[in-house]
């Protein structure tokens, strides 16, 4: 699966509009993230630092009934004091069109490092949460998800 480029997407679109009936039944597949592009996005976030497993808990249902709205909670084991707190939590994915999902910026005023949101998932995939601590270290958790999408998609 290629990561796609602007011109490739235009070509896909031309094919879709020219194709008419049968092709219209095929869901348009935009360019996708891949494990490689997710790795690149993570590298852009952490630079040369090592990412250690631990401290982070990614809470997300393993079987997702509907990829349009998936509840996600990230917890980081941290005292959240001015000397030791979570600066940023970044969420990455492998199969959506882009590797980034959302970045949260916290402060010692948070009291706890717990954030919840709802995300979209285009396919079964791995989700990675990486926390950057005030001491410059990076910690992560990964979740493997199966996404089943609903039938009878509205036309």
């Amino acid at each position: 699966m290629s990561t796609g480029s602007g011109s490739l997407m235009v070509r896909r679109r031309d094919v879709l509009t020219a194709g008419g009936g049968l092709l219209a039944l095929i869901v348009a597949r935009p360019a996708r993230a891949t494990p490689e592009s997710m790795a690149a996005a993570i590298k852009a976030f952490v630079g040369e630092s090592e990412v250690q497993k631990g401290k982070v808990t990614l809470d997300i249902p393993p079987l997702v009934e509907n990829g349009n709205s998936v509840p996600l909670t990230v917890r980081v084991d941290s005292p959240m004091t001015p000397q030791d707190y979570v600066r940023t939590i970044a969420i990455f994915n492998e199969e959506n069109p882009q590797p980034n999902v959302v970045n949260f910026h916290l402060s010692p005023r948070a009291g706890r490092a717990v954030v919840s949101t709802r995300i979209r998932l285009g396919d079964s995939q791995n989700i990675v949460a990486i926390a950057q601590l005030s001491d410059g270290t990076f910690w992560s958790d990964t979740a493997e998800l199966i996404v089943t999408l609903p039938a009878c998609v509205e036309s």
Partner: protein
């Protein structure tokens, strides 16, 4: 998986001293003890979302509906509140009994139709288009005032012929796939169609936020999805067929609590 029994028709005729006749026809639908709202077929996460007013996206429409309820409108310069006061009082139980018989048109009217009728006649304001944000918001706000209350639709004797039409539509095969509503929702509820579970088609939470739409939508929008799903030409929004069908389904769901604004996948 329990296969539902073949066509069962039960009719009760009661002629009391006042000549009152009550007729209740049940055909092939889930027996009362097996009735389940679409809520029960959803994931735990979707159920939790519906039950949390601070994160249920449908509540955004309820909030806007409340604003509209209090907004002066049209040439009358009147708001809903000017006539109906506090919706929590005046609208309590209202959505749970719709569609109702509308004397002026000699046929049933649904809640959306009633809202627009009030706008046109009482407020002298332009009716809201079907599926507009405003109409969904007002219907959601009014619906929420009945949340938790049992559905009571269909008591009025004059609704009988329209109930029957709705029932006929529910049982009629249609579209290129030649399915009736009953084929899926009476005969195969609980089974999977592709990857989603088929519910029993009780409209207990409309208007609702459908995750697939990522949007709020009416029961008519849902009907149209289904008709397109079986490759039938859907009726236009506002068609009397939809109101008849809603009347049938709400009557069939009598006693079940209203959940507006619901979440559905």
């Amino acid at each position: 998986m329990i296969r539902l029994p073949d066509r069962i028709v039960l009719s009760f005729g009661v002629a009391g001293a006042l000549g009152l006749v009550v007729s209740l026809a049940l055909a092939q639908e889930p027996p009362p003890q097996e009735r389940r709202s679409g809520f029960e077929f959803m994931s735990r996460e979707s159920q939790a979302l519906q039950q949390d007013d601070t994160s249920n996206p449908g509540m955004l429409w309820v909030a806007e509906g409340e604003t509209l309820w209090n907004a002066k409108a049209g040439q009358s310069g009147r708001s809903c509140a000017d006539c109906h006061g506090d919706a929590a009082v005046s609208m309590k139980g209202v959505a749970a009994r719709y569609p109702v018989y509308f004397e002026e048109q000699k046929r049933p009217i649904d809640l959306q139709g009633r809202i627009n009728m009030c706008r046109a006649v009482k407020q002298q304001a332009t009716p809201f288009p079907y599926e507009s944000r405003e109409l969904l918001a007002l219907a959601a706000f009014i619906g929420k005032q009945s949340r938790g209350m049992p559905i009571t639709t269909g008591d009025d004797q004059r609704l009988q012929p329209f109930y029957a039409q709705g029932k006929e539509l529910y049982e009629r095969r249609m579209g290129q796939l030649n399915f009736s509503c009953a084929n899926c929702h009476d005969d195969n509820w609980g089974r999977r169609l592709a990857s989603s579970v088929i519910p029993q088609a009780h409209p207990t939470g409309y208007p609702l936020y459908r995750l697939e739409w990522q949007d709020m939508g009416s029961l008519q929008r849902r009907f149209r999805n289904c008709m397109v799903g079986v490759r039938a030409e859907p009726y236009p929004f506002g068609a009397p067929e939809y109101v008849n069908l809603e009347l049938f389904l709400m009557t069939r769901a009598r006693g079940m609590p209203l959940e507006t604004p619901a979440i559905r996948p």
